[in-house]
Symmetry: D2
């Protein structure tokens, strides 16, 4: 398979660095260009970035000259990943799309746009047809696809089999989120060492809304969102990587924990046969051991791309209760975006 040349927007930030790390030795994608703010443009990546990943900065990247995040400077790439800050993503991503450069974005700005797919390949691969309605370019060469909030990912991946098999009436969850989710410098250590913070600004509305778009159905090209209430309490815990969710679900059809567990275990990924390089072998890893999953033990499993599930049991208030956990900066951010790009290659949107 020929390689695609990719650019990374917001390359010096935490998400940008994760893109760089995950794209090392990628079978299909080769980093061609790095974009960051004016302050960084013109410097070598080594000079511009405060590297925080736990592997050394890859040598083939350290010497790349950082560019401005302007489409005109990215004529040599096939598409871009965007790890841009939401304060600038609206304009910059549109600029690229209008210039005919596809944008695979981790930013939140276009997630709620009715023509932009909010995509988790195992959940709603059919939503990519929404791209056809985008009007950034006349010939359809430029478009935007987004991936969801890092809590919404394990939530929707675990809800999908329940939604399809039993229907969902309501969801209550409490998230225990890792510090890496706040980027760098992010959470001050004085706030979180030996502590739990019961609030994360801006998270709860995204957690409540995004799964409904992800579980939505296309009707004549128009997306009808799923319709049930989700109530989230987002907390921060002193964990490095891996957001854990304690979830309770009211199902439409009656089902007990055994049936639900069976549905989760037997669920078959719709992209399982596509052999996408970043796709986990088992997108849902359902544990029987009450003490699992744990972020430190399981966040990195399957290259950080699985959603781990445990403690599936009956609830005496709603129907069932369970734990879900996924690596927030891989499955829930850069890795998810890369998987999106891989699906879009297979489906000939990227070519």
């Amino acid at each position: 398979m020929a390689q695609f040349k990719v650019g990374i927007l917001g390359a010096t930030g935490a998400v940008g660095q994760k893109f760089i790390r995950l794209l090392q030795n990628h079978e299909w994608f080769k980093i061609e260009a790095l974009g960051a703010s004016e302050r960084s443009a013109g410097k070598s990546y080594k000079q511009a970035a405060n590297w925080i990943e736990s592997i050394p900065m890859p040598e083939d990247v350290s010497g790349i000259e950082v560019r401005n995040c302007t489409a005109s400077e990215f004529g040599d790439v096939d598409f871009v990943f965007s790890g841009l800050d939401s304060s600038v993503a609206t304009e910059v991503e549109a600029d690229f799309a209008k210039a005919g450069i596809p944008v695979i974005s981790n930013a939140k700005n276009y997630r709620t746009d009715p023509t932009v797919p909010l995509l988790v390949p195992e959940v709603n691969p059919d939503h990519i047809s929404m791209i056809d309605k985008q009007t950034f370019t006349e010939d359809g060469s430029g478009w935007i696809v987004t991936n969801p909030n890092c809590v919404a990912v394990p939530l929707v991946m675990s809800l999908k089999p329940l939604y399809d098999n039993f229907g969902i009436k309501s969801v209550i969850l409490t998230s225990m989120q890792a510090i890496s989710g706040a980027g760098y410098p992010g959470v001050p250590s004085l706030d979180i060492l030996g502590n739990v913070v019961p609030f994360i600004g801006g998270e709860e509305p995204k957690i409540a809304a995004e799964p409904l778009k992800l579980l939505g159905r296309l009707n004549d090209g128009v997306l009808q969102h799923a319709d049930f209430p989700i109530q989230a309490t987002a907390t921060r815990v002193p964990v490095l990587n891996g957001h854990m969710l304690s979830i309770a679900v009211q199902l439409e059809k009656e089902a007990d924990a055994e049936e639900v567990k069976k549905a989760l275990k037997e669920w078959k990924s719709p992209i399982g046969d596509l052999k996408l390089p970043s796709a986990p072998n088992f997108p849902l890893n359902v544990f029987d051991d009450d003490f699992y999953p744990q972020p430190r033990l399981h966040a990195d499993s399957q290259k950080g791309m699985q959603t781990a599930i445990g403690r599936v049991r009956n609830s005496n208030v709603l129907s069932i209760s369970y734990i879900a956990m996924a690596h927030n900066t891989i499955r829930g951010a850069a890795g998810g975006a890369i998987l999106n790009a891989e699906l879009l290659v297979k489906k000939n949107y990227i070519k």
Copy 2:
């Protein structure tokens, strides 16, 4: 006020040590005797105990000779606090009660006994009359009173105003529990450093049952438990002290977050006028700041005896959602037991 002579059973364990620490300079109670296992009996407390509190072992305690936990060796005390392990508490506590020595117990063994009060003074002070039905002694001189599980305490303290004002139909909660709740050596650091464990053996059934007894009503001396489902997910987090609970409640009467917050803020403790030495000035500390409460900042407030509440807000699934937090080994264990004893002094059960 004259001083009472107290004994501590299980004095070398984590709860026993906390009793010793909290009873330093207590206005009413003076430590007279310490009981522990056969292995410790006969040794000085200094020799017997692996002291883990963050203040030095009090000098007046270090030289006390540890006794066996046998009532016959405790003839010189007015009552005992029990921090006994549940594997021995059933027999030992009965032995003391039968010998006419009141037992204020932190052990779980008698919590479900229909004649034994499960007591949180601010919640159900009237339940102490259940003591009159106990039959350990003919003259009523020996009896047992228990305090609840460390999660049940902040749960029931926050539910009480809701139960009285609006009625409760159901409760879902996720607890994030501190490591001190597991005693010493307790949780291995390899299990919890930078991690969350989604299960704590034995906790969830207690959390589901105990509040119903605590909110129960006495009818002709017979306790009728409250009747609504509670579903708990108990997790362990790398926090030293302070169990945090993320709670959602379905109320019987409709009420929005503002009304609920008002009820919590205006709630008046039924023991507020008794001037019990360990009673917090404000048993419920209701924060308006979304980022509060936090275990590291607020677990020690009001000598560790408050229940801190925050994030009271409407839920789109149940009626309301909020955070509650209390110091698990003070309010949720030894401090709660001491407050129980203080109430029982005021009510002339201890004399």
Copy 3:
């Protein structure tokens, strides 16, 4: 004893907040005025400060209107504590001193000034006579006194008895420093959770130089610094409060660990009889237990004002080796400054 009215410069920062906390209910000092940057001036302290202490913001302080750090606005105070950032302390502190307002500073700016005492009351109380040589005012009413770096404090407090009894030829130490030493937001959690950072910018030169001034001798009013090499490696560890030092010392006179331990235990504070409110009963707390001291267990002992020592033993390379530990933001910063002020009251410099 009459109360003195004090001002706090840099009142919204981490050190300023610690001053406010420690001055609650102080026997001699009453907070009269708070100074901060222009951005904060004119606001109430509650509005201006991002309060990070683990007790609620004191009510009598929350309503105080923050002033600019200009001497002309502080005519109503007897002296000021300075928790100013080093970027502004040089000018602001001189401005106050010139206006006849004594400055008790925690900033590093004047520590190396040959006329400014670098003061630890238990170590070099006689150095306060250096004040007489200061020329900020003609009548001597305005002057500056500083306290040392937070590592230098436990270092010099433990070296003092060795220096006086045996003489010192050289010192090697490795510090393991708490995150609170970096202020707020300070150390990003991504840098320190489950980690050690082997460098802290700017610390090592201060640790090497300040003890030599503190152990210096006044000759006709001129300070002769002590003269021996100190080599420090300053590391950051995931601890909240309490800097721990692993120290090895080459003595001038031969002495074994027992003699050194005896000298440390028998050392008598020169200010022990002055009954200063913040002075610890035992400035040096020498442990025999190999596992002590520990920052979490002992940083708060004696109101955070002790230097805890342990593991005194012979070294086969230098003469002896030991551990020292003190609370970095109390003994090593705000608490040390308050003790300085108390000594200066007793010695009639503040009146």
Copy 4:
């Protein structure tokens, strides 16, 4: 290259599990047998072991029936790795050696035996000839080789180039050791969360003695230990993996930091050409950045087999000072033992 069949003694413990993990997909070695205590013998490994590694238990291992640690039950293996507890290693390892089964041991018991090589392949590969003097079997088929204490490994690896180039007069170090070094359950979380413990029982004498054997020279088959004093202070910090050492060295020949750094960077591993599967490409990774190395960022580099070095600088007390860090359970334990076995294969001791 043909595969060797290996047994693992102490297979259920923390070191045993690390052996199992590191031997997955090993080019030369295949796990054939697992030995543990009587309590485990006869059970499947899955039943017997409380698996604590962060990858799932390998499937090909989980079904293996655990054997007693008796040589007679291990007739089918080519050699064994020993992760035995020191309480049993003396007898069990001798039993295997006498039965003609080579033992590659991580236990401390035979480290000081004058006929047993204490081996770090990059440091003293010639010491393996000591095996020839062992008398466990007449034909030399059974023997024991050990690897050093987990702190001694990065210490001796960093000292080796200094010893060879400049000579060493003395060493002072403070270690900051990870919790995984204590095995499982190991360090209670109540002891180490947000804390530092200034003592680790039994470590310091090993750190002082083992490097001298490792740097020793063979004279007519008799090992002459190196002769200089090492003084160690061993502390425990809340880090998962990676022991960090703050080291100061007095050299025999004068040399400044630049020369020392050059010697470390230019040092050439004597086994560099052997292409041993577990050998790191760069056994010494010398950082120029003051903030490096850090255990969380660098412990896993080069499969956990490197010793990372940083902060090489002149000392004003001894000659130079620097930081060394290595993964304590890989480079400092199981991984080191596996590298030892690989060298012994290449040198035809294992065949």
